[in-house]
């Protein structure tokens, strides 16, 4: 099995403080390492979960893969995606990959949409940004995708502004944007943690369906092991910037090797009848 994405000894260095103060901290020589020696592979169509507590480096890992690390953070190592080393690609090629071959969905579905633009236009904008010159075609594709991700009454919703939609609807819009150009890798950073549980399940369902349909690989970042358990073949547990566990999800659930993984498993609320596992 050739891998779609191969991360080899990825390391991210950062100043000690908040990213905003990067410059002064670098001058003071107080650098901190956010991620140490991260290595893993992903096959085409595979679903991998990344879990870990806040501050464990999950989001930095996702941003590094997309090439969107904030200023002042530096990634070293090797990230091979479809045979190319992402960290050495020029900006233009990298940007062209984003959205077309790899896409990302963010945690907060409100802040990730432009509050001043109708959501339908924002989805269609995705196609235009990647060279679709026919505006009507772009709108039609956008509408089809909004319907595909299960947005109720897409014709009506597309004409609305983000603040007029519910959290679940907004997250579906973001999914439609990310999926529009059929990327082979989707990175979802806590895609459901801002949603309530029923909506969470629906959004995950849409993700799984689209993934099965297109053979898209999914990297699901979450602090919620329950979400990961129901979705991912394999789970990587991050702790303080290191991979402490990388195994089949079932294995981690039944026999966690690292204490951190065990703690995460223990933190999953049991919702089934007594004696069963979530």
């Amino acid at each position: 099995m050739t891998s779609l994405l191969s991360v080899d000894a990825l390391r991210i260095d950062a100043p000690n403080d908040v990213p905003g103060d990067a410059a002064s901290d670098v001058r003071n020589g107080t650098r901190r390492t956010i991620l140490h020696d991260i290595s893993f592979d992903m096959a085409a169509g595979e679903t991998v979960g990344i879990v870990g507590e806040s501050g464990s480096g999950k989001t930095s890992l996702a941003l590094a893969l997309m090439g969107l690390l904030p200023h002042g953070l530096r990634a070293t190592g090797r990230v091979t995606f479809e045979g190319r080393d992402l960290l050495t690609l020029d900006d233009r090629t990298r940007r062209d990959l984003r959205g077309r071959r790899m896409a990302m969905v963010f945690q907060e579905p409100f802040t990730a949409l432009n509050p001043r633009q109708r959501v339908g236009a924002q989805v269609a904008e995705m196609a235009t940004a990647h060279g679709q010159r026919d505006g009507r075609r772009a709108r039609l594709d956008a509408m089809a995708m909004l319907e595909r991700v299960g947005l109720a009454e897409p014709e009506d919703r597309a004409q609305r502004y983000p603040h007029q939609l519910s959290g679940g609807e907004r997250q579906r819009v973001l999914l439609a944007m990310a999926l529009l150009l059929a990327p082979v890798l989707l990175i979802a950073d806590e895609p459901t943690s801002a949603l309530d549980v029923t909506v969470q399940a629906q959004v995950l369902e849409v993700l799984r369906d689209c993934q099965r349909e297109r053979g898209m690989a999914l990297l699901l970042v979450s602090h919620d092991l329950g979400v990961v358990a129901g979705t991912c073949h394999r789970t990587i547990v991050l702790h303080e910037g290191r991979i402490v566990e990388n195994a089949a999800t079932r294995e981690i659930f039944t026999a966690p090797r690292h204490p951190q993984a065990a703690a995460l498993v223990a933190a999953v609320p049991r919702t089934g009848p007594p004696g069963t596992r979530a």
């Binding site: 984003r98 959205g99 077309r100 896409a103 963010f106 802040t111 990730a112 509050p115």
Partner: protein, 280 residues
């Protein structure tokens, strides 16, 4: 959202009055050739008809050369408001473009633009213009537009830069980047629409600043040159007759005051209308 700003503005009485005043002045300027009772440069009888007080024949009186003041006020509005509007457009465009360049490109571009703003803002505008006029001689109205607009973009650039730097760190911009949008596309699609109301406020303030500036230049003889009329040089013609011919002073000053006041009120109400929706 922007729609809400405009909606709020439309229902704001001071804003509507101010907009009506500016629109009326603009309309008078545009229609000047049609509605002026006389040729603004015509001197029918410099002896018998000089300094005639307002009458049915000359509603705003005549000046020392027997020219009709109403006609000169209307044609002067063309020049004064035209120069002011042109300078406002130029400064808003320059300010937005340079502010966006500084914020989005950052690095050297930011250093150059911010440095330039810091230096120029310390030099009084009038001083630069007077120095240029002294060097190159009297200026045509087009050059006045270039000078006034070219020296008025500083605050707009500062505002745009600060606003865009804030927006650049919002998640929706990161999300757009994550989907492969270029800096140019992000600026054009997301950032500039977001600062449009602030630019409009800055432009209204620029208008309020430029009208008296042109009048002052024309009043001291460095701006619009006779026989072309502007509100400033009508005042200049009346300067020697302050006590005897009040109409030469009152009408141009009233015109300047009303348009500047209207522009200031509009800027203020617009800012209030934006303020109401700052929240998320």
């Amino acid at each position: 959202m922007a729609a809400r700003t405009w909606n709020r503005l439309l229902h704001d009485r001071p804003a509507r009055v101010a907009a009506a005043v500016l629109a009326g002045a603009a309309l008078a300027a545009l229609l000047a050739p049609l509605i002026s009772p006389f040729d603004p440069a015509l001197q029918p009888d410099p002896v018998a008809l000089r300094l005639v007080a307002p009458s049915w024949q000359h509603p705003l009186g005549t000046d020392p050369y027997s020219r009709d003041v109403l006609s000169r006020m209307l044609h002067g509005a063309r020049i004064s408001l035209g120069v002011a509007a042109g300078a406002m457009l130029l400064s808003a465009t320059l300010g937005t473009a340079l502010g966006a360049l500084a914020a989005v490109v950052g690095g050297w571009a930011d250093a150059v633009v911010s440095g330039l703003v810091d230096i120029l803002i310390a030099v009084p505008r009038l001083l630069i213009i007077v120095a240029l006029v002294a060097t190159f001689g009297a200026l045509s109205p087009w050059w006045l537009v270039v000078l006034l607009g070219g020296s008025g973009w500083l605050t707009t650039a500062r505002i745009v830069r600060a606003e865009l730097r804030d927006h650049l760190h919002r998640e929706y911009v990161l999300a757009a980047r994550a989907l492969g949008a270029t800096d140019w596309r992000i600026t054009w699609q997301h950032l500039l629409p977001a600062v449009a109301p602030q630019v409009a406020v800055a432009a209204a303030l620029a208008l309020a600043a430029v009208i008296p500036l042109e009048a002052a230049l024309s009043f001291v003889g460095l701006g619009v040159q006779p026989p072309l009329a502007s509100w400033g040089n009508i005042l200049l013609d009346g300067a020697d007759y302050l006590t005897s011919a009040w109409w030469l002073v009152v009408f141009p000053v009233a015109a300047i005051t009303c348009t500047v006041g209207a522009a200031l009120i509009l800027a203020d109400r617009l800012r209030a209308a934006i303020g109401g929706e700052r929240a998320p």
